[in-house]
């Protein structure tokens, strides 16, 4: 790896980390706490929303599903614009706070709009906009707060905390509904209170990273997009997007598992917990491994773990082995890709455009995931589960081969120029 000017500038930014202390910066832990709290709040809603919509209101979920798809596009646009504003004003914390605030307010919107489909669509829209606003500024703050050789670990710790919140959310919702059966409004109010706590922790304990933009440094929208002209960043973005296109979304992985096992549908809602537990435990250590062994390598290995998930789903193994292996590998995939990708792109992004760069990568992979879901849905309807899986095996193998070849080529170029 080479030391870019951005990396040089980052070095020694955070004074709370000295020498080889190997401690994750306090600001990262603060951001992790905000994410943990916020995810409890949002996953509470995710857990009860389908039930609330159907039993509480009688809304057809087909219509909600369509609305949901439409927002995918809007979120991409919002996140790119928000990232630009965050870079231009150097107020990343403020932009993130608006995002967290919008999502918090949307929790109270749900009981307020009742069964009106337009109202529900608007509330979900506000929540998604909030998520779109906050993600890139938050990741930019993590990267700017962390010394360069700890980036992988910092993102890992953040993702582990984030996932811990996601695991706790449904449990909190379960206990609220147990205490007050059928009282969905209680779930929404508790969710709002927790989201407000997250916002407070952000405002009080997260330090913004505001650098004076040096004269002559361009932070326009065009400059943001011009990041893609830089070889290293472009390569990573293209590769991550390509891999996301041939990666099955969570819903499909669980559906395939259920299809393959064909029995314990009662336990179906618990499948994501298997993935999340492994992800939570491995995120930090795998991030640390990425710092030492190479972030690109770990990122590619993570995608190979996804390929292994497909193979396990196709392999003639006992049901229990399929279940355990598939969920464990799925967790490894997340631990080795989600935060690691952000750590991987950080060195190629100047601090002044850090948020925009991260939003570009995230938007690229989000759009690719959307394409992947639509394609998987079409394939599944057309030829069924096994065929869909086979197509994705071929697709991911080709993508990994391309990425591998590119990596070898890059290394050769680096050696030649040295």
């Amino acid at each position: 790896m080479y030391l870019s000017s951005a990396r040089a500038r980052d070095a020694g930014l955070d004074r709370s980390v000295k020498g080889r202390g190997m401690r994750v910066p306090g600001n990262v832990v603060a951001l992790g706490s905000v994410s943990l709290i916020t995810d409890i709040s949002s996953e509470m809603i995710t857990a009860v929303l389908p039930v609330y919509l159907v039993f509480g209101l009688g809304v057809s979920l087909v219509s909600v599903g369509i609305v949901d798809g439409l927002y995918a596009g809007v979120t991409v646009l919002v996140s790119l614009l928000a990232a630009h504003v965050a870079d231009r004003t150097q107020r990343r914390k403020a932009v993130a706070a608006v995002g967290y605030g919008l999502s918090a307010v949307s929790k109270l919107g749900l009981p307020a709009v009742g069964a009106s489909l337009g109202g529900i669509a608007a509330v979900i829209g506000v929540d998604r906009t909030g998520k779109g606003l906050r993600t890139a500024p938050r990741d930019a703050l993590i990267s700017l707060s962390s010394p360069p050789d700890l980036l992988g670990r910092s993102f890992g710790v953040h993702r582990a905390m984030d996932t811990a919140g996601a695991l706790a959310g449904p449990i909190v919702a379960f206990f609220v509904l147990r205490a007050a059966p059928g009282a969905y409004d209680a779930v929404f109010v508790v969710s709002f209170c927790i989201a407000a706590m997250g916002l407070l922790v952000l405002l009080a304990f997260v330090r913004d990273r505001r650098d004076r933009i040096a004269a002559g440094v361009d932070v326009s929208l065009r400059a943001g997009l011009a990041l893609l002209r830089q070889r290293e960043f472009r390569t990573t973005t293209v590769q991550a997007t390509l891999l996301a296109t041939v990666t099955l979304s969570d819903a499909f992985v669980y559906l395939l598992l259920q299809h393959r096992l064909d029995v314990p549908l009662v336990w179906f809602p618990l499948l994501p917990l298997g993935t999340a537990s492994v992800y939570m435990v491995l995120a930090a250590p795998v991030g640390r491994l990425a710092d030492r062994w190479g972030r690109r390598r770990v990122f590619v290995a993570g995608n190979a773990a996804m390929l292994a998930v497909y193979v396990v789903l196709l392999a003639p193994l006992p049901a229990a082995a399929v279940l355990v292996l598939a969920l464990a590998l799925h967790g490894v995939y997340y631990a080795a890709t989600n935060g690691v990708l952000m750590a991987l792109v950080t060195p190629s992004l100047p601090a002044s455009l850090r948020t925009s760069g991260m939003a570009i990568v995230q938007s690229g992979t989000a759009a690719a995931s959307f394409v992947s879901s639509v394609a998987a849905g079409v394939l599944w309807s057309w030829r069924g589960a096994t065929f869909t899986l086979a197509v994705f095996v071929v697709g991911l193998t080709i993508a990994l081969a391309l990425v591998g070849t590119a990596a070898v080529g890059a290394r050769r170029r680096a050696t030649a120029s040295a």
Partner: protein, 364 residues
């Protein structure tokens, strides 16, 4: 910015305040801010003593239903003679969110205890004693027993069984009532539409009704926002699409008419009770103009019975009136059973107050 200590104190105080609001709201809701909680709890007064169910079931036609009066008996199954519906006799401790009773067999759905979303389906004999128990995933939705009592059908709502991001689908299983085993799920049917194979991964089946000979069934097939009425051959596991726009069909005893939910509005979702004549393919409205969400049953070849919420809190706008289907999942809502003529004439009349999921059963 103030000192770290100052911030800690201020944020700590705010967090305690938010926590108090959250806990306070849950406590308020749990204390019956609106309605008694869950089935089988809440309400005032002692539960009614169990009566001699056999005395009612052995003497002639009777109603079997779930009591929905908001008291200690809420959710308990009771029977009443057809000649005197007000004389209700309670079972000892059978509690259901949804009940079916035909041909000397019954089916009772209740939420299963535990951390997963699952139901218990109890197969009952003619005296409402439990003969078999099954655990199935999802929330209780619909139950039906074939006229000869040999087969039963269960529909549950399952979340996460679909690739849509807010996936929520139905699952319908056919049960052999004599053994209590699941024979097959309707998803395994090969469906034809207009003479061609018809299949998609987003197929959902719900609301089964059996033909008088118990060899065929009708059910709703939902796919991509549309609903179809299918007729299936149970032995062959094949089905054909009969028509569209028919939900929760219920076949008349002579097998000629189908009472069904017809969607008349999408926002809020509203259904009305309609009748389809299978011979002519014509459909018409009944004189029941209130929104319904129930799978109807028949009192005779000319009269349909269905449930409606009587709870005021469910009819104060917001589209909630359209959805007492929460009742089938276990929500505490008071309901009543009504009947109306199938030919589109007459006016609806009250059959059973404080009752849900009622069927007129005959002595086996």
């Amino acid at each position: 910015m103030t000192s770290l200590h100052g911030r800690l104190v201020a944020v700590g105080a705010a967090l305690v305040l938010l926590l108090a609001v959250a806990v306070g709201y849950v406590v308020h809701a749990a204390a019956g801010g609106a309605q008694p909680a869950g089935h089988g709890s809440g309400g005032a007064g002692p539960a009614t003593a169990a009566g001699d169910v056999g005395a009612v079931t052995s003497t002639g036609p009777f109603y079997a239903f779930k009591s929905s009066r908001l008291d200690r008996d809420f959710g308990r199954v009771a029977v009443a003679p057809a000649s005197d519906p007000t004389r209700r006799v309670f079972t000892r401790d059978l509690r259901c969110t949804r009940l079916a009773m035909t041909g000397g067999r019954g089916l009772c759905l209740q939420p299963a205890p535990g951390v997963t979303v699952a139901i218990q389906a109890l197969v009952l004999d003619g005296n409402l004693a439990v003969t078999h128990r099954l655990t199935l995933p999802g929330y209780p939705s619909r139950a039906k027993v074939a006229p000869d009592g040999r087969l039963a059908a269960v529909t549950t709502f399952v979340s996460g069984d679909s690739y849509a991001s807010l996936g929520f689908s139905t699952r319908t299983s056919i049960i052999d009532a004599s053994t209590g085993a699941v024979l097959f799920d309707l998803e395994k049917l090969s469906v034809t539409k207009d003479g061609r194979p018809f299949h998609a991964s987003n197929f959902n089946f719900w609301g089964v009704t059996f033909t008088p000979d118990s060899r065929h069934l009708y059910a709703t097939l939902g796919s991509g926002g549309r609903t179809y009425l299918i007729r299936a051959d149970i032995a062959a596991r094949t089905a054909t699409v009969v028509t569209s726009g028919v939900e929760c069909p219920s076949l008349s005893p002579d097998g000629k008419l189908v009472a069904f939910k017809k969607k008349v509005s999408d926002d809020p979702v509203t259904w009305r009770l309609w009748i389809l004549d299978l011979a002519t393919g014509r459909e018409h409205a009944t004189t029941e103009t209130r929104p319904i969400d129930d799978q109807a049953s028949w009192l005779n070849d000319r009269t349909v019975m269905y449930g409606l919420a009587t709870d005021d809190s469910l009819s104060d706008g917001g589209g909630k009136a359209a959805n007492p289907s929460a009742v089938d999942a276990g929500a505490s809502v008071d309901t009543a059973m009504w009947a109306v003529a199938a030919d589109g004439t007459g006016t609806p009349r009250l059959v059973l107050d404080h009752a849900w999921s009622a069927q007129l059963a005959t002595t086996s």
